[in-house]
């Protein structure tokens, strides 16, 4: 069983988001970077599956050398080896082209990633990889078991849950319930230093989209306080003033 897990490096969830260069670049000053939390769940579940039935887990990231601490952390959590495609990730299409180009000759049984990155929130990677590699893709997986070349899955759908079976190979994206993240232990951290991390040069792919500028949402006006004794007034205000009910 060969599993590929696609990870991206994102700002820690407590980050106050700001921009530089005339609002064209994310301000990385003082920002702590982490493995995208959903990607980490995908990695942990991949490890649980291969620990149970044998196999290897490779992590892949498209990024410049600055992402290596996150890749080493993925190795410390337990991935067997890692690949970094040495390129600035221009857009989802560009990243998917790089990953699918690497994966197409490697015969992975399962490719997992997070349901979206918490910075750009595109949520497109599983679908793009599925189409580029001509594989089925299943989004927002909340459970996966693999048996005899078949994945038994549960996923979120609008307003509910679906159970489905998919013949491997397939691509999937991890939703929160999939598993609990694993904290790397000292042995894992030591081992990660010597695990193979291969750097691959990118193929010439085009970005189809380009972010031209960023903006923070406008600040809210003052909060109108209601005396708790008159809490019932809230309903009238929401109807007559805010006009939302």
């Amino acid at each position: 069983m060969k599993v590929l897990v696609c990870i991206s490096q994102v700002p820690d969830t407590t980050t106050k988001v700001g921009f530089t260069d005339n609002n064209t670049k994310f301000n990385t000053q003082g920002v702590q970077f982490i493995i995208n939390p959903y990607d980490e769940l995908a990695l942990t579940r991949a490890l649980e599956i291969t620990e149970k039935q044998g196999g290897t887990v490779t992590v892949i990231n498209v990024g410049l050398a600055e992402t290596e601490p996150s890749i080493r952390k993925a190795l410390a959590i337990g991935a067997n080896d890692a690949v970094r495609i040495n390129a600035e990730p221009m857009d989802a299409f560009f990243v998917a082209e790089q990953i699918s180009n690497y994966a197409k000759n490697e015969n992975f049984d399962l490719i997992l990633t997070g349901r979206e990155s918490i910075d750009y929130n595109g949520g497109m990677m599983a679908g793009l990889l599925g189409e580029m590699l001509q594989l089925p893709s299943v989004n927002v997986i909340t459970a996966i078991e693999v048996e005899n070349g078949m994945a038994k899955l549960e996923r979120d759908i609008d307003g509910g849950r679906e159970r489905l079976e998919v013949k491997l190979p397939m691509v999937g994206s991890a939703q929160k319930e999939l598993t609990e993240p694993r904290i790397p232990n000292m042995r894992g951290i030591m081992a990660a230093r010597t695990k193979p991390l291969t750097v691959v040069e990118p193929i010439g792919a085009q970005a189809n989209t380009q972010t031209t500028s960023f903006e923070n949402p406008p600040a809210k006006g003052a909060c109108k306080l209601i005396d708790p004794a008159n809490a019932a007034d809230l309903i009238g205000l929401l109807h007559n003033e805010a006009k939302v009910i």
């Binding site: 969830t13 980050t15 106050k16 988001v17 921009f19 939390p37 299409f93 998917a96 918490i118 910075d119 750009y120 929130n121 949520g123 497109m124 990677m125 679908g127 793009l128 599925g130 189409e131 089925p136 893709s137 299943v138 989004n139 909340t142 759908i157 609008d158 307003g159 509910g160 849950r161 679906e162 159970r163 489905l164 079976e165 998919v166 397939m170 939703q175 929160k176 085009q206 189809n208 989209t209 380009q210 972010t211 031209t212 500028s213 960023f214 903006e215 923070n216 949402p217 909060c223 109108k224 306080l225 209601i226 708790p228 019932a232 809230l234 309903i235 929401l238 805010a242 939302v244 009910i245």
Partner: protein, 325 residues
Amino acid sequence: MKIIVFAENQEGQFKKSSLEAVSYAAQIAATNNGSVIAVSIGQVSNDKLAELSKYGADQIFNYSQEVFNTFYGETYSKALAHATKNAGAELVIISNTYSGKTIAPRTAAQLGAGIVSGVTSFPNTTNGFNVRRTVFSGKAFADVAINTSIKVLAITPNSFSLIENHKTANIEQMDAGISTDHLASKSIEIARASGKVVLTEAELVVSGGRGMKGPENWHLIESLADILGAATACSKPVSDIHWRPHSEHVGQTGITIKPNLYIAIGISGAIQHLAGVSASKVIVAINKDPEAPFFKAADYGIVGDAFDVLPKIIEAAKSFKSQQA
């Protein structure tokens, strides 16, 4: 410009998010002498299909073969790409629901189209083709240019109003020539909670945090939500300690929502939580701590104990609703 819209149905009924997408497309078409082709996939009656023309569809493509009785990203995206090529359309609009997120990237890859998801604006075409989307789970907006000739936009549900725009649309029966022979996926069971407002598409949301003290007190949240016709939600700590299901967790690592009204009860308003809800049109914070950061992000606030305040609000909501009826 010809615009393709995916009109998703659930058991033969078009979802509000689908009609929003048709309405959105019709408003773009009105600015450039364009036309809107709504694409229905699966079994929908002719009466229901006609509903799409009420919101501005000029034409309806109907893919109703048996292969589409179950939703699969592989087959539905092929039908949508088929429709786009067939119509010679340059723009594809999909609502960014779970199903939309499944098929939008696959459709874009088949068409070699640039794709932007989480779109919250109409396109600006004064210099190229630009749209605005949310990034950092709602902590910021980004303006994105698309460089390809065909473009795919996945628009955020509940961001655009339904505007009636009656047209007389022909229904064309389409066939994308897809068979199930090589399909690797098989749906076993679909379970939907009936009668519940879906959180991602809800206009009103009532949400609770650790200040609710325990799952046994959630009847207060549920009761207010029921009276208002709202969906229920919760903060991350509440789902982490399993008071409520993960599917209700809103925030940066949960669901990002954009309702008209978000009522937060016993939630302090950490930056990770605000990220997921700050796009709500009106926010109400109820918290006993006057220093809770939520009061800085809220339009209305009540500094008080939830167990004292909520019953009063529930009673007021009940009498408001009975007057309305």
